[in-house]
Symmetry: C2
Amino acid sequence: MMQKPARERKRGSGAQYVYEILREEILDLVLAPGSPIDENQLAERLEMSRTPIREALVRLAGEGLVTPLPNRSTVVANIDFFNLHTFFDALTLMYRVTTRLAGEYHTPADLELIRARQEDFARAVENQDALAMIATNREFHAAIAEAGRNPYFTGLFCRLLDEDQRILRLYYSSFNDQLPKRYVAEHEQMIAAIEARDINACDRLALAHADQIVSQIQSMISRGVMRTVPLD
Amino acid sequence: MMQKPARERKRGSGAQYVYEILREEILDLVLAPGSPIDENQLAERLEMSRTPIREALVRLAGEGLVTPLPNRSTVVANIDFFNLHTFFDALTLMYRVTTRLAGEYHTPADLELIRARQEDFARAVENQDALAMIATNREFHAAIAEAGRNPYFTGLFCRLLDEDQRILRLYYSSFNDQLPKRYVAEHEQMIAAIEARDINACDRLALAHADQIVSQIQSMISRGVMRTVPLD
DNA sequence: TGTATAATTATTGTCGACAAGATTGTTGGC
DNA sequence: GCCAACAATCTTGTCGACAATAATTATACA
Protein backbone atom coordinates (compact mmCIF):
# COMPACT_ATOMS: atom_id res chain seq x y z
CA MET A 1 0.00 0.00 0.00
CA MET A 2 1.22 3.48 -0.86
CA GLN A 3 2.16 5.82 1.95
CA LYS A 4 0.91 9.38 1.66
CA PRO A 5 3.73 11.64 0.44
CA ALA A 6 3.95 14.77 2.57
CA ARG A 7 4.46 16.93 -0.45
CA GLU A 8 4.23 15.58 -3.96
CA ARG A 9 7.78 14.36 -4.28
CA LYS A 10 9.13 13.31 -7.63
CA ARG A 11 10.09 9.69 -7.99
CA GLY A 12 13.79 8.99 -7.47
CA SER A 13 14.32 12.11 -5.42
CA GLY A 14 13.65 10.48 -2.05
CA ALA A 15 17.08 9.11 -1.22
CA GLN A 16 18.75 12.15 -2.76
CA TYR A 17 16.63 14.45 -0.62
CA VAL A 18 17.44 12.57 2.58
CA TYR A 19 21.11 12.56 1.63
CA GLU A 20 21.19 16.33 1.20
CA ILE A 21 19.27 17.03 4.38
CA LEU A 22 21.47 14.74 6.48
CA ARG A 23 24.69 15.97 4.90
CA GLU A 24 23.82 19.56 5.64
CA GLU A 25 22.81 18.81 9.21
CA ILE A 26 26.01 16.90 9.81
CA LEU A 27 28.25 19.61 8.35
CA ASP A 28 26.40 22.31 10.28
CA LEU A 29 26.75 20.27 13.49
CA VAL A 30 22.98 20.22 13.90
CA LEU A 31 23.71 16.54 14.34
CA ALA A 32 26.52 16.29 16.86
CA PRO A 33 29.55 14.09 16.08
CA GLY A 34 29.04 10.71 17.69
CA SER A 35 25.29 11.03 18.06
CA PRO A 36 23.24 8.09 16.82
CA ILE A 37 20.93 8.38 13.83
CA ASP A 38 17.56 6.75 14.36
CA GLU A 39 16.23 5.39 11.09
CA ASN A 40 12.65 5.08 12.26
CA GLN A 41 12.59 8.57 13.71
CA LEU A 42 14.04 9.99 10.49
CA ALA A 43 11.54 8.04 8.43
CA GLU A 44 8.75 9.59 10.45
CA ARG A 45 10.18 13.10 10.31
CA LEU A 46 10.77 13.05 6.56
CA GLU A 47 7.58 11.09 5.95
CA MET A 48 9.00 8.27 3.92
CA SER A 49 9.97 4.65 4.47
CA ARG A 50 13.30 3.45 5.81
CA THR A 51 14.56 2.29 2.41
CA PRO A 52 15.61 5.68 0.96
CA ILE A 53 16.93 6.68 4.37
CA ARG A 54 19.17 3.65 4.49
CA GLU A 55 20.43 4.42 1.00
CA ALA A 56 21.36 7.93 2.08
CA LEU A 57 23.16 6.55 5.13
CA VAL A 58 25.18 4.14 3.00
CA ARG A 59 26.25 7.01 0.78
CA LEU A 60 27.20 9.18 3.74
CA ALA A 61 29.18 6.28 5.18
CA GLY A 62 31.12 6.09 1.92
CA GLU A 63 32.10 9.73 2.36
CA GLY A 64 33.09 9.18 5.96
CA LEU A 65 30.44 11.51 7.35
CA VAL A 66 28.73 8.68 9.18
CA THR A 67 29.91 5.45 10.81
CA PRO A 68 27.70 2.38 10.64
CA LEU A 69 28.02 0.09 13.64
CA PRO A 70 27.09 -3.44 12.54
CA ASN A 71 23.72 -4.50 13.90
CA ARG A 72 23.79 -1.32 15.93
CA SER A 73 22.72 2.21 15.07
CA THR A 74 24.63 4.39 12.63
CA VAL A 75 26.34 7.35 14.29
CA VAL A 76 27.53 10.71 13.01
CA ALA A 77 31.29 10.44 12.35
CA ASN A 78 33.45 11.62 15.19
CA ILE A 79 36.18 14.18 14.70
CA ASP A 80 39.48 12.47 15.38
CA PHE A 81 41.47 14.97 17.40
CA PHE A 82 44.30 12.51 17.99
CA ASN A 83 45.15 12.25 14.32
CA LEU A 84 44.58 15.80 13.23
CA HIS A 85 48.08 15.99 11.78
CA THR A 86 47.11 13.51 9.04
CA PHE A 87 44.19 15.79 8.28
CA PHE A 88 46.43 18.84 8.17
CA ASP A 89 48.93 17.07 5.90
CA ALA A 90 46.24 16.10 3.44
CA LEU A 91 44.52 19.49 3.55
CA THR A 92 47.77 21.35 2.96
CA LEU A 93 48.79 19.17 0.05
CA MET A 94 45.38 19.51 -1.57
CA TYR A 95 45.45 23.29 -1.17
CA ARG A 96 48.74 23.33 -3.03
CA VAL A 97 47.86 20.85 -5.75
CA THR A 98 44.47 22.28 -6.60
CA THR A 99 45.78 25.84 -6.73
CA ARG A 100 48.69 24.79 -8.94
CA LEU A 101 46.38 22.97 -11.31
CA ALA A 102 44.03 25.93 -11.37
CA GLY A 103 46.97 28.06 -12.46
CA GLU A 104 47.64 25.58 -15.21
CA TYR A 105 44.18 24.78 -16.53
CA HIS A 106 41.77 27.59 -15.60
CA THR A 107 39.56 29.26 -18.18
CA PRO A 108 38.23 32.83 -18.08
CA ALA A 109 34.88 31.45 -16.92
CA ASP A 110 36.61 29.72 -13.99
CA LEU A 111 38.28 32.95 -12.96
CA GLU A 112 34.98 34.76 -13.03
CA LEU A 113 33.44 32.18 -10.73
CA ILE A 114 36.43 32.26 -8.39
CA ARG A 115 36.21 36.05 -8.17
CA ALA A 116 32.51 35.86 -7.39
CA ARG A 117 33.23 33.43 -4.54
CA GLN A 118 35.95 35.70 -3.24
CA GLU A 119 33.47 38.58 -3.17
CA ASP A 120 31.07 36.44 -1.16
CA PHE A 121 33.87 35.69 1.29
CA ALA A 122 34.93 39.33 1.54
CA ARG A 123 31.33 40.30 2.25
CA ALA A 124 31.08 37.72 5.02
CA VAL A 125 34.28 39.08 6.57
CA GLU A 126 32.94 42.61 6.25
CA ASN A 127 29.81 41.58 8.12
CA GLN A 128 31.83 39.66 10.71
CA ASP A 129 29.57 36.69 10.04
CA ALA A 130 31.70 33.72 11.12
CA LEU A 131 29.32 31.08 9.82
CA ALA A 132 29.14 32.72 6.41
CA MET A 133 32.94 33.02 6.36
CA ILE A 134 33.29 29.30 6.84
CA ALA A 135 30.83 28.49 4.09
CA THR A 136 32.07 31.04 1.54
CA ASN A 137 35.72 30.19 2.16
CA ARG A 138 34.87 26.60 1.38
CA GLU A 139 33.15 27.57 -1.86
CA PHE A 140 36.07 29.76 -2.86
CA HIS A 141 38.57 26.94 -2.63
CA ALA A 142 36.18 24.44 -4.17
CA ALA A 143 35.88 26.77 -7.18
CA ILE A 144 39.67 26.87 -7.49
CA ALA A 145 39.79 23.09 -7.33
CA GLU A 146 37.16 22.82 -10.04
CA ALA A 147 39.28 25.05 -12.28
CA GLY A 148 42.10 22.52 -11.82
CA ARG A 149 39.91 19.95 -13.57
CA ASN A 150 41.14 16.87 -11.75
CA PRO A 151 38.21 14.96 -10.26
CA TYR A 152 40.45 12.79 -8.07
CA PHE A 153 41.88 15.82 -6.34
CA THR A 154 38.65 17.77 -6.16
CA GLY A 155 36.94 14.71 -4.68
CA LEU A 156 39.44 14.34 -1.86
CA PHE A 157 39.70 18.08 -1.36
CA CYS A 158 35.95 18.51 -0.97
CA ARG A 159 35.89 15.75 1.62
CA LEU A 160 38.64 17.51 3.50
CA LEU A 161 36.81 20.83 3.23
CA ASP A 162 33.75 19.12 4.69
CA GLU A 163 35.71 17.95 7.68
CA ASP A 164 37.35 21.37 7.94
CA GLN A 165 33.92 22.95 8.07
CA ARG A 166 32.88 20.72 10.95
CA ILE A 167 36.03 21.55 12.90
CA LEU A 168 35.72 25.28 12.27
CA ARG A 169 32.08 25.21 13.35
CA LEU A 170 33.15 23.71 16.63
CA TYR A 171 35.31 26.75 17.26
CA TYR A 172 33.63 29.43 15.28
CA SER A 173 33.04 31.70 18.25
CA SER A 174 36.73 32.64 18.11
CA PHE A 175 36.58 33.38 14.41
CA ASN A 176 36.11 37.12 14.79
CA ASP A 177 39.71 38.16 15.17
CA GLN A 178 42.05 39.93 12.75
CA LEU A 179 42.84 36.80 10.71
CA PRO A 180 39.90 36.84 8.28
CA LYS A 181 41.09 40.10 6.73
CA ARG A 182 44.44 38.52 6.14
CA TYR A 183 42.68 35.63 4.41
CA VAL A 184 40.95 38.09 2.08
CA ALA A 185 44.32 39.51 1.07
CA GLU A 186 45.82 36.06 0.62
CA HIS A 187 42.90 35.05 -1.54
CA GLU A 188 43.50 38.06 -3.75
CA GLN A 189 47.12 37.09 -4.19
CA MET A 190 46.13 33.55 -5.10
CA ILE A 191 43.70 34.81 -7.73
CA ALA A 192 46.42 36.98 -9.22
CA ALA A 193 48.86 34.06 -9.34
CA ILE A 194 46.27 31.81 -10.97
CA GLU A 195 45.44 34.45 -13.57
CA ALA A 196 49.15 34.97 -14.32
CA ARG A 197 49.51 31.19 -14.60
CA ASP A 198 52.46 31.47 -12.24
CA ILE A 199 52.53 27.89 -10.94
CA ASN A 200 55.29 28.45 -8.44
CA ALA A 201 53.50 31.42 -6.93
CA CYS A 202 50.28 29.38 -6.75
CA ASP A 203 52.09 26.68 -4.84
CA ARG A 204 53.84 29.08 -2.50
CA LEU A 205 50.71 31.08 -1.72
CA ALA A 206 48.56 28.00 -1.21
CA LEU A 207 51.14 26.56 1.16
CA ALA A 208 51.31 29.78 3.16
CA HIS A 209 47.51 29.98 3.23
CA ALA A 210 47.24 26.38 4.42
CA ASP A 211 49.83 26.98 7.12
CA GLN A 212 47.82 29.97 8.31
CA ILE A 213 44.66 27.93 8.55
CA VAL A 214 46.35 24.98 10.22
CA SER A 215 47.99 27.13 12.86
CA GLN A 216 44.74 28.97 13.45
CA ILE A 217 42.94 25.70 14.09
CA GLN A 218 45.75 24.50 16.33
CA SER A 219 45.65 27.71 18.32
CA MET A 220 41.87 27.47 18.62
CA ILE A 221 42.19 23.98 19.98
CA SER A 222 45.00 24.78 22.39
CA ARG A 223 43.09 27.79 23.70
CA GLY A 224 40.17 25.48 24.23
CA VAL A 225 37.45 27.73 22.94
CA MET A 226 35.44 24.69 22.01
CA ARG A 227 31.71 24.82 21.89
CA THR A 228 30.59 22.21 24.34
CA VAL A 229 27.04 21.88 23.15
CA PRO A 230 26.13 21.58 19.48
CA LEU A 231 23.40 23.64 17.89
CA ASP A 232 20.01 22.12 18.35
CA MET B 1 7.95 -14.72 4.15
CA MET B 2 11.54 -15.85 4.48
CA GLN B 3 13.43 -16.79 1.35
CA LYS B 4 15.61 -19.90 1.53
CA PRO B 5 19.26 -18.88 1.99
CA ALA B 6 21.51 -20.82 -0.41
CA ARG B 7 24.08 -21.40 2.26
CA GLU B 8 23.53 -20.45 5.88
CA ARG B 9 24.69 -16.88 5.62
CA LYS B 10 25.25 -14.87 8.75
CA ARG B 11 22.99 -11.94 9.25
CA GLY B 12 24.44 -8.61 8.12
CA SER B 13 26.85 -10.25 5.73
CA GLY B 14 24.58 -10.12 2.71
CA ALA B 15 25.31 -6.65 1.38
CA GLN B 16 28.98 -7.00 2.30
CA TYR B 17 29.17 -10.25 0.38
CA VAL B 18 27.57 -8.78 -2.73
CA TYR B 19 29.87 -5.78 -2.48
CA GLU B 20 32.98 -7.94 -2.41
CA ILE B 21 31.85 -10.17 -5.25
CA LEU B 22 30.93 -7.25 -7.48
CA ARG B 23 34.05 -5.28 -6.65
CA GLU B 24 36.28 -8.20 -7.55
CA GLU B 25 34.44 -8.90 -10.78
CA ILE B 26 34.67 -5.25 -11.79
CA LEU B 27 38.38 -4.97 -11.02
CA ASP B 28 39.11 -8.24 -12.83
CA LEU B 29 37.10 -7.05 -15.84
CA VAL B 30 34.80 -10.04 -15.55
CA LEU B 31 32.22 -7.29 -15.77
CA ALA B 32 33.20 -5.14 -18.73
CA PRO B 33 33.32 -1.34 -18.31
CA GLY B 34 30.05 0.13 -19.50
CA SER B 35 28.07 -3.09 -19.20
CA PRO B 36 24.79 -2.81 -17.34
CA ILE B 37 24.21 -4.55 -14.03
CA ASP B 38 20.86 -6.29 -13.75
CA GLU B 39 19.61 -6.23 -10.17
CA ASN B 40 17.06 -8.98 -10.63
CA GLN B 41 19.53 -11.28 -12.34
CA LEU B 42 22.09 -10.67 -9.60
CA ALA B 43 19.47 -11.28 -6.95
CA GLU B 44 18.71 -14.62 -8.54
CA ARG B 45 22.34 -15.58 -8.99
CA LEU B 46 23.34 -14.74 -5.42
CA GLU B 47 20.04 -16.02 -4.04
CA MET B 48 19.01 -13.01 -2.07
CA SER B 49 16.58 -10.13 -2.46
CA ARG B 50 17.33 -6.89 -4.27
CA THR B 51 17.76 -4.87 -1.07
CA PRO B 52 21.32 -5.95 -0.17
CA ILE B 53 22.27 -5.82 -3.84
CA ARG B 54 21.15 -2.22 -4.10
CA GLU B 55 23.12 -1.36 -0.98
CA ALA B 56 26.26 -2.84 -2.54
CA LEU B 57 25.64 -0.86 -5.73
CA VAL B 58 25.28 2.38 -3.80
CA ARG B 59 28.58 1.71 -2.08
CA LEU B 60 30.32 0.89 -5.35
CA ALA B 61 28.90 4.06 -6.86
CA GLY B 62 30.46 6.02 -4.01
CA GLU B 63 33.83 4.57 -4.95
CA GLY B 64 33.31 5.36 -8.61
CA LEU B 65 33.38 1.73 -9.70
CA VAL B 66 29.81 1.90 -10.92
CA THR B 67 27.65 4.63 -12.42
CA PRO B 68 23.94 4.72 -11.59
CA LEU B 69 21.77 6.09 -14.37
CA PRO B 70 18.63 7.57 -12.79
CA ASN B 71 15.58 5.43 -13.39
CA ARG B 72 17.78 3.34 -15.67
CA SER B 73 20.12 0.47 -14.99
CA THR B 74 23.40 0.91 -13.15
CA VAL B 75 26.44 0.33 -15.37
CA VAL B 76 30.04 -0.61 -14.63
CA ALA B 77 32.11 2.58 -14.67
CA ASN B 78 33.80 3.34 -17.93
CA ILE B 79 37.51 4.00 -18.20
CA ASP B 80 37.94 7.59 -19.31
CA PHE B 81 40.70 7.48 -21.89
CA PHE B 82 40.28 11.13 -22.76
CA ASN B 83 41.24 12.32 -19.30
CA LEU B 84 43.92 9.83 -18.44
CA HIS B 85 46.35 12.63 -17.68
CA THR B 86 44.35 13.59 -14.60
CA PHE B 87 44.59 9.99 -13.52
CA PHE B 88 48.35 9.94 -14.10
CA ASP B 89 48.78 13.20 -12.19
CA ALA B 90 46.91 11.86 -9.21
CA LEU B 91 48.61 8.46 -9.30
CA THR B 92 52.07 9.98 -9.49
CA LEU B 93 51.45 12.37 -6.64
CA MET B 94 50.04 9.61 -4.44
CA TYR B 95 53.01 7.35 -5.19
CA ARG B 96 55.29 10.11 -3.99
CA VAL B 97 53.32 11.16 -0.95
CA THR B 98 52.64 7.69 0.38
CA THR B 99 56.26 6.61 -0.06
CA ARG B 100 57.50 9.75 1.66
CA LEU B 101 55.15 9.23 4.59
CA ALA B 102 56.16 5.58 4.80
CA GLY B 103 59.77 6.75 5.13
CA GLU B 104 58.66 9.03 7.93
CA TYR B 105 56.27 6.88 9.93
CA HIS B 106 56.94 3.19 9.20
CA THR B 107 57.47 0.68 11.99
CA PRO B 108 59.54 -2.53 11.78
CA ALA B 109 56.28 -4.48 11.38
CA ASP B 110 55.36 -2.35 8.37
CA LEU B 111 58.72 -3.04 6.75
CA GLU B 112 58.27 -6.74 7.27
CA LEU B 113 54.91 -6.64 5.52
CA ILE B 114 56.26 -4.52 2.68
CA ARG B 115 59.11 -6.98 2.17
CA ALA B 116 56.68 -9.89 2.08
CA ARG B 117 54.64 -8.12 -0.60
CA GLN B 118 57.77 -7.43 -2.58
CA GLU B 119 58.64 -11.13 -2.47
CA ASP B 120 55.18 -11.94 -3.81
CA PHE B 121 55.76 -9.50 -6.62
CA ALA B 122 59.20 -10.86 -7.42
CA ARG B 123 57.77 -14.36 -7.53
CA ALA B 124 55.08 -13.27 -9.97
CA VAL B 125 57.72 -11.67 -12.20
CA GLU B 126 59.81 -14.83 -11.97
CA ASN B 127 56.84 -16.87 -13.14
CA GLN B 128 56.00 -14.34 -15.86
CA ASP B 129 52.46 -14.31 -14.51
CA ALA B 130 51.13 -10.95 -15.67
CA LEU B 131 47.88 -11.14 -13.72
CA ALA B 132 49.73 -11.95 -10.51
CA MET B 133 52.16 -9.10 -11.17
CA ILE B 134 49.30 -6.64 -11.38
CA ALA B 135 47.76 -7.87 -8.15
CA THR B 136 50.96 -8.16 -6.12
CA ASN B 137 52.27 -4.80 -7.33
CA ARG B 138 49.07 -3.27 -6.07
CA GLU B 139 49.44 -4.92 -2.67
CA PHE B 140 53.06 -3.81 -2.41
CA HIS B 141 52.22 -0.17 -2.84
CA ALA B 142 49.13 -0.43 -0.67
CA ALA B 143 51.34 -1.78 2.11
CA ILE B 144 53.68 1.20 1.73
CA ALA B 145 50.71 3.54 1.88
CA GLU B 146 49.46 1.86 5.05
CA ALA B 147 52.87 2.42 6.63
CA GLY B 148 52.43 6.12 5.92
CA ARG B 149 49.41 6.10 8.25
CA ASN B 150 47.34 8.75 6.52
CA PRO B 151 43.86 7.43 5.79
CA TYR B 152 43.03 10.31 3.45
CA PHE B 153 45.95 9.48 1.19
CA THR B 154 45.59 5.71 1.43
CA GLY B 155 41.92 6.06 0.57
CA LEU B 156 42.54 8.01 -2.60
CA PHE B 157 45.58 5.91 -3.48
CA CYS B 158 43.69 2.64 -3.23
CA ARG B 159 40.97 4.02 -5.46
CA LEU B 160 43.63 4.97 -7.99
CA LEU B 161 45.25 1.55 -7.71
CA ASP B 162 41.85 0.02 -8.41
CA GLU B 163 41.52 2.01 -11.59
CA ASP B 164 45.13 1.24 -12.46
CA GLN B 165 44.38 -2.45 -12.11
CA ARG B 166 41.48 -2.20 -14.53
CA ILE B 167 43.61 -0.38 -17.09
CA LEU B 168 46.51 -2.81 -16.76
CA ARG B 169 44.15 -5.75 -17.14
CA LEU B 170 42.98 -4.31 -20.41
CA TYR B 171 46.54 -4.46 -21.70
CA TYR B 172 48.04 -7.25 -19.71
CA SER B 173 49.00 -9.31 -22.73
CA SER B 174 51.87 -6.92 -23.34
CA PHE B 175 53.06 -7.15 -19.76
CA ASN B 176 55.72 -9.77 -20.40
CA ASP B 177 58.56 -7.58 -21.50
CA GLN B 178 61.74 -6.56 -19.73
CA LEU B 179 60.11 -3.89 -17.60
CA PRO B 180 58.87 -6.01 -14.68
CA LYS B 181 62.43 -6.90 -13.70
CA ARG B 182 63.22 -3.23 -13.60
CA TYR B 183 60.24 -2.75 -11.29
CA VAL B 184 61.61 -5.36 -8.93
CA ALA B 185 64.86 -3.45 -8.70
CA GLU B 186 63.07 -0.14 -8.21
CA HIS B 187 60.97 -1.66 -5.45
CA GLU B 188 64.13 -2.79 -3.68
CA GLN B 189 65.52 0.72 -3.82
CA MET B 190 62.30 2.11 -2.43
CA ILE B 191 62.37 -0.32 0.47
CA ALA B 192 65.96 0.67 1.24
CA ALA B 193 65.05 4.37 1.17
CA ILE B 194 62.08 3.81 3.45
CA GLU B 195 64.15 1.82 5.91
CA ALA B 196 66.84 4.51 5.91
CA ARG B 197 64.08 7.11 6.46
CA ASP B 198 65.58 9.06 3.59
CA ILE B 199 62.54 11.13 2.64
CA ASN B 200 64.13 12.77 -0.38
CA ALA B 201 65.19 9.42 -1.79
CA CYS B 202 61.68 8.06 -1.19
CA ASP B 203 60.23 10.95 -3.13
CA ARG B 204 62.72 10.69 -5.96
CA LEU B 205 62.36 6.93 -6.35
CA ALA B 206 58.57 7.02 -6.17
CA LEU B 207 58.49 9.72 -8.82
CA ALA B 208 60.78 7.74 -11.12
CA HIS B 209 58.73 4.61 -10.51
CA ALA B 210 55.50 6.43 -11.28
CA ASP B 211 56.96 7.89 -14.46
CA GLN B 212 57.96 4.39 -15.54
CA ILE B 213 54.47 3.07 -15.00
CA VAL B 214 52.80 6.03 -16.66
CA SER B 215 54.98 5.80 -19.75
CA GLN B 216 54.46 2.06 -19.90
CA ILE B 217 50.70 2.52 -19.90
CA GLN B 218 50.95 5.28 -22.48
CA SER B 219 53.07 3.11 -24.72
CA MET B 220 50.66 0.21 -24.29
CA ILE B 221 47.81 2.44 -25.36
CA SER B 222 49.64 3.97 -28.30
CA ARG B 223 50.71 0.54 -29.50
CA GLY B 224 47.07 -0.44 -29.30
CA VAL B 225 47.54 -3.85 -27.75
CA MET B 226 44.13 -3.53 -26.20
CA ARG B 227 42.12 -6.59 -25.40
CA THR B 228 38.94 -6.12 -27.35
CA VAL B 229 36.87 -8.64 -25.45
CA PRO B 230 36.84 -8.82 -21.67
CA LEU B 231 37.22 -12.05 -19.75
CA ASP B 232 33.96 -13.80 -19.35
C1' DT C 1 6.71 2.00 -46.37
C1' DG C 2 8.01 5.28 -42.83
C1' DT C 3 6.86 7.74 -38.89
C1' DA C 4 4.00 8.97 -34.94
C1' DT C 5 1.36 7.28 -31.34
C1' DA C 6 -0.59 3.80 -28.27
C1' DA C 7 -0.27 -0.54 -25.74
C1' DT C 8 2.79 -3.76 -23.48
C1' DT C 9 6.57 -5.18 -20.94
C1' DA C 10 10.64 -4.60 -17.96
C1' DT C 11 13.07 -2.30 -14.42
C1' DT C 12 13.67 0.90 -10.85
C1' DG C 13 12.47 3.28 -6.45
C1' DT C 14 9.77 2.86 -2.45
C1' DC C 15 6.79 0.55 0.77
C1' DG C 16 5.21 -2.32 4.87
C1' DA C 17 6.31 -6.64 7.15
C1' DC C 18 9.11 -9.65 9.78
C1' DA C 19 12.94 -12.23 11.97
C1' DA C 20 17.74 -12.15 13.95
C1' DG C 21 20.28 -9.80 17.03
C1' DA C 22 21.15 -6.05 20.37
C1' DT C 23 19.45 -3.34 24.31
C1' DT C 24 17.08 -2.68 28.31
C1' DG C 25 14.53 -4.02 32.30
C1' DT C 26 13.35 -7.54 35.79
C1' DT C 27 13.86 -11.06 38.82
C1' DG C 28 16.37 -14.06 41.74
C1' DG C 29 20.49 -15.73 44.08
C1' DC C 30 24.34 -14.74 47.04
C1' DG D 1 22.97 -4.34 47.91
C1' DC D 2 25.37 -6.25 43.73
C1' DC D 3 25.79 -9.30 39.91
C1' DA D 4 23.88 -12.95 36.79
C1' DA D 5 20.32 -15.13 34.16
C1' DC D 6 16.20 -14.42 31.92
C1' DA D 7 12.31 -11.79 29.70
C1' DA D 8 10.53 -8.00 27.21
C1' DT D 9 11.40 -4.39 23.91
C1' DC D 10 13.67 -2.03 20.22
C1' DT D 11 16.48 -1.75 16.05
C1' DT D 12 18.51 -3.45 12.10
C1' DG D 13 18.95 -6.32 7.88
C1' DT D 14 16.33 -8.59 4.54
C1' DC D 15 12.20 -9.87 2.17
C1' DG D 16 8.25 -9.77 -1.26
C1' DA D 17 4.99 -6.49 -3.26
C1' DC D 18 3.72 -2.64 -6.02
C1' DA D 19 3.58 1.80 -8.55
C1' DA D 20 6.03 5.07 -11.54
C1' DT D 21 9.06 5.49 -15.21
C1' DA D 22 11.73 3.87 -19.17
C1' DA D 23 12.18 0.56 -22.98
C1' DT D 24 9.99 -2.13 -26.37
C1' DT D 25 6.66 -3.63 -29.33
C1' DA D 26 2.40 -3.08 -31.78
C1' DT D 27 -0.69 -0.23 -34.37
C1' DA D 28 -2.54 3.57 -37.08
C1' DC D 29 -2.08 6.95 -40.37
C1' DA D 30 0.13 9.54 -44.04
